[in-house]
């Protein structure tokens, strides 16, 4: 009896958290999955339509257009490759080089700072960088000095995605620097010294000793960045509103347009379900790591 009461008491510690999770995450998610199978007109359950919303989305040229390789899904894939790849490349470079100079702290502060800045503020900051007038936007200012006519980076279908992704890379690289420079510091000095004494060049010892030891942090960084790509919304909303004519939409933006601009709950919920389905396999990579931890080990 006492032990049962004891265990119920233990469960009570988790109760406030579990209640909030149930009310705000689990139950709404179930309703959203249900809504994705409904027309959801006016954001209410109206008529069950099976998988029609998913079919409709896949036929929506602003969501997925394999013919011209455009649409939100393709843009998200572009983000995945360019954003994750560039953040990782710049981040690894900065983490590795900063580790070897005396002013490491200053360099790291410079790269960490954008992590603290809202995507909304980063969006405005880069709107100024990209301003189409050569006497306002520094990018066009520099090109102008080289004799190139000003470019409206955010107004052209060809450039808008790259321009927004570059701004996001500026904001996100710090995450990679934070994690990888901690990982590089954890590599035992003796290992590197031994390799150097055996005649390895700095580059060789980085590639063959440091890299294998930071492989796990790198995979963690890739997973974290990939998940943030699937959720990306704020910076696109601020910099281009998904435009011009939908050219910079991502899946999260499609959700927003369908749900809150068009009041079409069904296709909106379907976009949200797509986001969940894409996140699950990526998240699985991380969850597997969580399972091992037990007290007192």
């Amino acid at each position: 009896m006492k032990s049962t009461r004891h265990k119920v008491g233990a469960f009570l510690f988790t109760l406030p958290a579990l209640l909030l999770l149930l009310v705000f995450l689990v139950y709404p998610a179930i309703l959203t999955v249900r809504m994705s199978l409904d027309t959801g007109a006016g954001l209410r359950l109206t008529k069950f339509v099976g998988l029609d919303n998913f079919r409709q989305l896949s036929n929506d040229r602003l969501f997925l257009d394999l013919g011209s390789m455009s649409g939100a899904v393709i843009n998200n894939a572009l983000w995945l490759v360019l954003y994750v790849g560039s953040c990782l490349g710049f981040g690894l470079l900065v983490a590795a080089l900063a580790d070897r100079v005396s002013y490491e702290r200053i360099v790291k502060t410079i790269f960490f700072a954008p992590l603290a800045i809202a995507a909304t503020a980063a969006g405005v900051i880069w709107l100024l960088v990209y301003a189409p007038q050569a006497n306002i936007g520094i990018l066009n200012g520099i090109l102008g000095a080289a004799g190139v006519d000003p470019v409206g980076w955010l107004g052209l279908r060809l450039t808008v995605n790259y321009a927004i992704i570059a701004a996001a890379v500026w904001a996100g690289t710090g995450l990679v620097v934070v994690i990888l420079s901690a990982a590089i510091k954890a590599v035992p000095d003796e290992l590197i010294e031994a390799a150097m004494l055996d005649g390895a060049s700095p580059r060789q010892s980085f590639r063959h000793i440091v890299m294998p030891l930071i492989a796990i942090p790198i995979s963690v960084v890739v997973v974290t960045l990939a998940i943030s790509v699937i959720k990306v919304f704020d910076i696109v909303y601020v910099m281009s509103h998904g435009g011009p004519s939908g050219a910079s939409r991502v899946i999260g933006y499609t959700y927003y347009v369908q749900t809150f601009e068009l009041d079409r709950g069904g296709p909106g919920a379907a976009a949200a379900v797509v986001m969940i389905l894409v996140t699950i396999p990526i998240m699985m990579l991380n969850v597997r790591r969580f399972q091992g931890q037990e007290p007192g080990q």
């Binding site: 705000f24 689990v26 580790d99 100079v101 510091k185 909303y237």
Partner: protein
């Protein structure tokens, strides 16, 4: 701990490519913030006449843009709203999450392991998965007319990560310390409050900094859940200016600086906790 071995052994080689690479990248990373800060301090006529990078040729600075956005465009109120939304949305998930994390780490109850895995798995849910049902619940209960709705929403969506992070820290506390407290007959709540919490200050501080910055900087949830214009925080306010003042950089730059000043100060003052929170969040 340090990369001194690398540094020492490297000193024989050519060092200037390292310095040059770091210098170029650092300049690229600083310029955008420098640009928006200088622009926010220039007169509108100067902004549209010459580039901010020429400011040293004719340095005329003013605080008028700030006075304008604060007094005429409601940024004073938005700033206050950001504080009123962010502080409770930081305290609540840490309080509720640390109780749950303690139970998941040290108490025995039925389904503990499964429940913890479910909580962690909830991290897959983007806010989009909850918007419409939560919004309807809020309107039915009137919760989006004041801050309560947005507090609860931020708290709930922060819990999976908070519980995961804190449990990871709590399980590493020395077993003897917690068990001796149990033998002493201290109740579990007292063990939690008098032993676990004081020993976990670094983890709690990291989480607090992380969550504070997250909520302060968040746009989408605030956009959807704060329907009352008088309660909207800086992010929503700044985003709204964009549709009205699309290319007016006197207003936009001052509002961006106001939006980022608090996070940057928090970051500079508490960089250690900030870095720890991020490392813990990803490496664990």
């Amino acid at each position: 701990m340090s990369g001194s071995a690398l540094a020492n052994l490297k000193s024989g080689g050519r060092r200037w490519p390292i310095h040059l690479t770091l210098l170029v990248l650092s300049v690229i990373w600083i310029l955008p913030v420098l640009g928006v800060t200088i622009t926010s301090l220039r007169r509108p006529a100067d902004i549209s006449a010459t580039g901010w990078w020429t400011v040293l040729q004719d340095p005329r600075l003013t605080l008028d843009n700030y006075a304008n956005v604060i007094n005429s465009l409601g940024f004073g109120k938005a700033f206050l709203n950001s504080i009123l939304i962010t502080v409770p949305s930081t305290v609540l998930p840490i309080a509720i999450g640390s109780l749950a994390a303690f139970a998941f780490a040290w108490l025995r109850f039925w389904g503990r392991r499964t429940l913890f895995l479910i909580v962690v798995a909830l991290m897959v849910l983007p806010v989009q998965a909850g918007f419409v049902p939560i919004l309807q619940m809020f309107s039915a209960l009137g919760l989006n007319r004041w801050y309560v709705g947005i507090w609860l929403a931020h708290t709930a969506f922060a819990l999976p990560f908070a519980i995961f992070l804190l449990r990871g820290f709590f399980v590493q506390l020395p077993r003897e310390l917690l068990e001796s407290a149990q033998i002493d007959g201290a109740s579990r709540l007292r063990t939690f409050w008098q032993i676990v919490i004081p020993l976990s200050r670094p983890a709690l501080a990291s989480l607090a900094v992380f969550q504070f910055l997250w909520v302060w900087n968040e746009l989408l949830m605030n956009l959807i859940f704060v329907s009352n214009g008088d309660l909207q925080p800086l992010t929503v306010h700044t985003a709204a200016l964009l549709s009205t003042y699309g290319q007016q950089f006197d207003i936009l730059s001052a509002s961006a600086v106001l939006l980022m000043i608090v996070p940057l100060l928090v970051f500079l003052a508490l960089q250690r906790y900030f870095v720890r929170g991020i490392v813990a969040g990803a490496v664990k």
